[in-house]
């Protein structure tokens, strides 16, 4: 259980995610999806129950720091510094995680931020460009667990395709992904499994394995 303020935000979560799996969390606003992702990042305490992420026991706060080095969280807030350029931001957060320069440069290129955009101040970016920069920061860290909270929000069609491609490539190289989204069609196409959360509780009856989209009928 995790309590935010006076109310339990998560009260009945029963979830196991296998390595290399992409799991989509869906549910109405306030269901606890963001809280669960922040909890998995080692940002919130558990008041009752148990949780283990990448082998780290979340009830033991001493393990949070080691866990945080291994996860990447793309949340509603970007964590970017407005007075620094895109490249400065990605470089700072990448270096903070001990990423080599090559990985930082590769992250900028992969997110389409390597040319003119790299030298722009973050304060001058659109919401979608900020999102891409935030994604590049996450990518440069090469996390083992990607925690994506509404990752498609604010991105244009090209940005969404880039994000989906990066997620698939990360999983192919061994990462695990837990994401929440209200854009179910796109997110379900990405996910191996869908878990429904209602009022801080996982609902097994509503949790499914998405079927691949049917081939469109060819009209002669």
């Amino acid at each position: 259980m995790t309590v935010l303020g006076r109310f339990p935000a998560l009260a009945g979560i029963d979830l196991e995610v296998a390595a290399g799996e992409i799991v989509l969390l869906r549910g109405p606003n306030g269901a606890g999806k963001t809280t669960l992702l922040r909890l998995c990042a080692g940002l919130l305490p558990i008041t009752r129950g148990e949780a283990t992420v990448l082998g780290h026991d979340l009830t033991d706060r001493r393990q949070w720091r080691a866990l945080r080095r291994r996860v990447g969280l793309l949340g509603h807030a970007t964590g970017l510094y407005d007075e620094l350029t895109v490249a400065d931001n990605v470089r700072f957060w990448g270096q903070a995680a001990g990423a080599p320069e090559a990985d930082i440069d590769a992250a900028l290129v992969a997110c389409g931020l390597h040319e003119r955009l790299a030298g722009l101040l973050v304060a001058r970016l659109s919401a979608g460009q900020r999102r891409r920069t935030s994604l590049a920061c996450l990518l440069s860290r090469r996390p083992e667990l990607w925690l994506l909270d509404e990752p498609h929000a604010g991105l244009d069609q090209d940005g969404r395709d880039v994000l989906d491609d990066l997620v698939r490539r990360a999983v192919a190289s061994g990462a695990t992904v837990l994401l929440s989204s209200h854009e179910l069609e796109r997110a379900e196409a990405l996910a191996d499994r869908v878990v429904t959360i209602v009022a801080g509780t996982t609902d097994p009856a509503m949790s499914v394995v998405p079927t691949p989209a049917e081939e469109p009928l060819l009209v002669p």
């Binding site: 922040r38 990042a41 080692g42 940002l43 706060r61 720091r65 945080r68 080095r69 996860v71 990447g72 969280l73 949340g75 509603h76 807030a77 970007t78 964590g79 970017l80 510094y81 407005d82 007075e83 620094l84 400065d88 700072f92 957060w93 270096q95 903070a96 995680a97 001990g98 101040l121 860290r141």
Partner: protein, 222 residues
């Protein structure tokens, strides 16, 4: 820890270089304070010269509050605090880096203020080594204690008003020690100033040690 401190200090100073808040806002404010003190006490220039040490350090104290507020405002914007916790940076390194960046800005401000005090108040410097040692020790103490209280107040909605209330009483020993030491360096007997400078060094070491140990907990809990 030191790698993280260098990274953090570099980032904060780069932000400062780009935004120019210290040079375009805090430094003019500091000079205005010195100037206003001068106008208030102008009828008797003797008082100005005698009070120049205290007025200098009061101005530095006000400027340090602005610099500390600024150092934590940039971390509060757009989830920066969570990003910092997730970054993998050593909290002790973050503390030392932020304190170092604040200290660099304060030293620059002190140089500007010192020139202002010499020109406006007609102060004469007789003990340069003591003057420089006092500046460095007091700045280290201001930056270390300010960073510690800055992170404590940063998580609160009323941080702008709470930080001065929390910090100014703590900085009273710095104000007293630096003023006495400066008085000795500005026309007094230098030997009288070194014990006060020792007090400033002790204060700085105490807060640097305490901050290195406690910053992580404060970042998590406040």
């Amino acid at each position: 820890m030191f790698r993280d401190a260098v990274l953090m200090a570099g980032k904060d100073l780069r932000i400062e270089w780009r935004s120019r808040v210290t040079t375009q806002q805090i430094a003019p404010f500091a000079l205005l304070v010195i100037l206003l003190f001068g106008m208030a006490l102008d009828p008797d220039r003797g008082i100005l010269a005698r009070a120049s040490s205290g007025l200098f350090w009061v101005a530095v104290l006000f400027c340090s509050l602005l610099a500390i507020q600024r150092a934590f405002t940039i971390e509060a914007a757009d989830g920066g605090r969570d990003a910092l916790r997730l970054s993998g940076l050593d909290p002790a390194g973050v503390f030392l880096g932020k304190a170092a960046a604040i200290a660099v800005q304060l030293v620059a401000l002190e140089v500007v203020l010192a020139i202002g005090v010499v020109i406006i108040y007609g102060a004469e410097v007789t003990g340069f080594p003591l003057l420089i040692a006092t500046c460095l020790a007091a700045t280290a103490g201001l930056a270390a204690s300010g960073t510690l209280y800055g992170v404590l107040a940063a998580g609160l909605r009323v941080r702008e008003t709470l930080l001065p209330i929390l910090l100014l009483p703590v900085l009273a020993p710095v104000l007293i020690g630096a003023t006495r030491s400066f008085e000795a360096a500005l026309g007094g007997v230098a030997a009288d100033g070194w014990p006060w400078c020792g007090l400033l060094v002790t204060f700085a070491l105490l807060y640097l040690t305490f901050g290195t140990l406690a910053f992580g907990t404060l970042l998590e809990e406040s």
